[in-house]
Amino acid sequence: MAEERDDDSLFEAPPMAEQERMVEAILFASAEPVSVRELTGRMPHGSKPAEAVTHLQKRYEGRGIRVVRVGEAWAIRTAPDLGFLMQKETVETRKLSRAAIETLAIIAYHQPVTRAEIEEIRGVAVSKGTIDQLLELEWIKLGRRRMTPGRPVTFIATESFLDHFGLESARDLPGLKELRQAGLLENRPPPGADEPD
């Protein structure tokens, strides 16, 4: 590390245009979103991938492929209006049951959320296999345990979930603000109950 100081030019970051090219190549080559942290690790010392990626995003505006943010990472994806050209690439996903879809939505909007809370919202037990299926799709993962008696496990939505549904972050979930304002994301215990769980 100390030797880096010996020759300034040797470790000078490449010009921003060159960094943009690098980010372009890296994002392009990977099917999965690439985090800024990983970009930093792969690009020459002193690069500013976060800045480069913003330039790149602008450059691709209106093109057939787009630079999109997925949580803390970035990816290149085709423009949604061109989906009709891609029948050949379409991946058949296993059809999700209504229970699984609702459970996914509840986890996404109420995260972190415990199994008991999901059941409280749906008014029915979470059937075996539902959570499994969502874990397997990597759309949900385990969050921190809830600091309530029994320390129940919580579930949260993943980056793959954001990627799949074209969301920049969990804050961009459709209707999130309205639901919050309407108080529908509150964990309201039934009247007279001491312990929600």
Binding site: A29, I76, A105, Y109, D132, F165, A182, P191
Partner: protein
């Protein structure tokens, strides 16, 4: 009779609808789902729903199911009992001596639950209706573009991990996780005690393996434990200046003898 007007005055079409519901009873995902479906017949915003009327609709449904000898799952009946209770609370003037939440509070909570469930249904539909990866927009088709370095990495996911743990632990379920195999472990203290007694006889270089207790040299598990503790004990004694250790080369037998000054004196 006149105190149940809403059941008797239902129109033919509503009755038909109720019957259709009953045929569908397997299609409901629990009592809350059924209540939500019933609430739609009121054709008002869920915030303005009449919980009293809804309770009556539900009870009528359960009645109808009984008539048609359709067996309802227990949680539907639990809800029916609760709604009957709620209905009486809502109809009777509040009893100030009674503990617990009022009928209005309970009704408000039920309305909240229905509204929340409906909201989650709506958002899940919106979510599934979004442009989706692999259907509307696509990732890079070729991922391996430049083949230069090949590095093998191993992967496993959280399911693998939990399943592995479950597999081990269920196998062991009836076995306490304590250390019950103590009889095949020779402690360092035991080995040390033994060596202190024997050290006076080690005038010449001797393989330390010859100091293993006889009954510890056979069974591999016991032998391994005895070797380790005996070795540790020789190190301890060497540190104390009681003996010397040597090894001709890596993996060659370890030999020990009494320290010279101890030998002479």
């Amino acid at each position: 009779m006149t105190d149940e007007p809403s059941i008797l005055e239902t129109s033919v079409s509503e009755r038909l609808a109720a019957e259709a519901l009953i045929v569908d009873v397997d299609g409901f995902e629990g009592p809350l789902d059924l209540l939500l479906t019933l609430s739609r017949t009121q054709k008002v915003d869920l915030r303005k729903i009449s919980v009293l009327q809804l309770a009556e609709q539900y009870l009528a449904f359960v009645e109808k199911a009984k008539e048609l000898r359709i067996e309802l799952a227990a949680d539907y009946l639990v809800m029916a009992a609760w709604l009957a209770f709620l209905k009486s609370r809502l109809l009777l003037p509040p009893d100030p001596t009674e503990e617990g939440p009022s009928g209005e509070e309970l009704a408000a909570h039920l309305a909240f639950q229905l509204e929340r469930l409906q909201a989650m249904r709506d958002t899940s539909a919106r979510l599934m209706g979004r442009d989706r990866l692999g259907r509307d927009f696509f990732q890079r088709g070729i991922t391996e573009d430049v083949t230069r370095t090949r590095r093998v990495t191993y992967t496993a996911n959280i399911l693998d991990l939990m399943q592995a743990y479950a597999r081990i632990r269920t196998k062991d379920e009836f076995r306490p996780l304590s250390f019950d195999a103590r009889e095949s472990i020779l402690t360092m203290e035991q080995a040390l005690d033994r060596l202190r007694g024997l050290i006076g006889f080690a005038g010449e270089w001797t393989d330390i393996m010859s100091y293993l207790p006889d009954d510890w040299a056979g069974d591999p598990k016991r032998r391994r434990s005895a070797t380790a503790s005996t070795f540790a004990a020789t190190l301890e004694l060497a540190k104390e200046g009681k003996l010397e250790l040597r090894q001709a080369e890596t993996f060659a037998p370890l030999q020990m003898r009494m320290r010279g000054d101890a030998r002479d004196g």
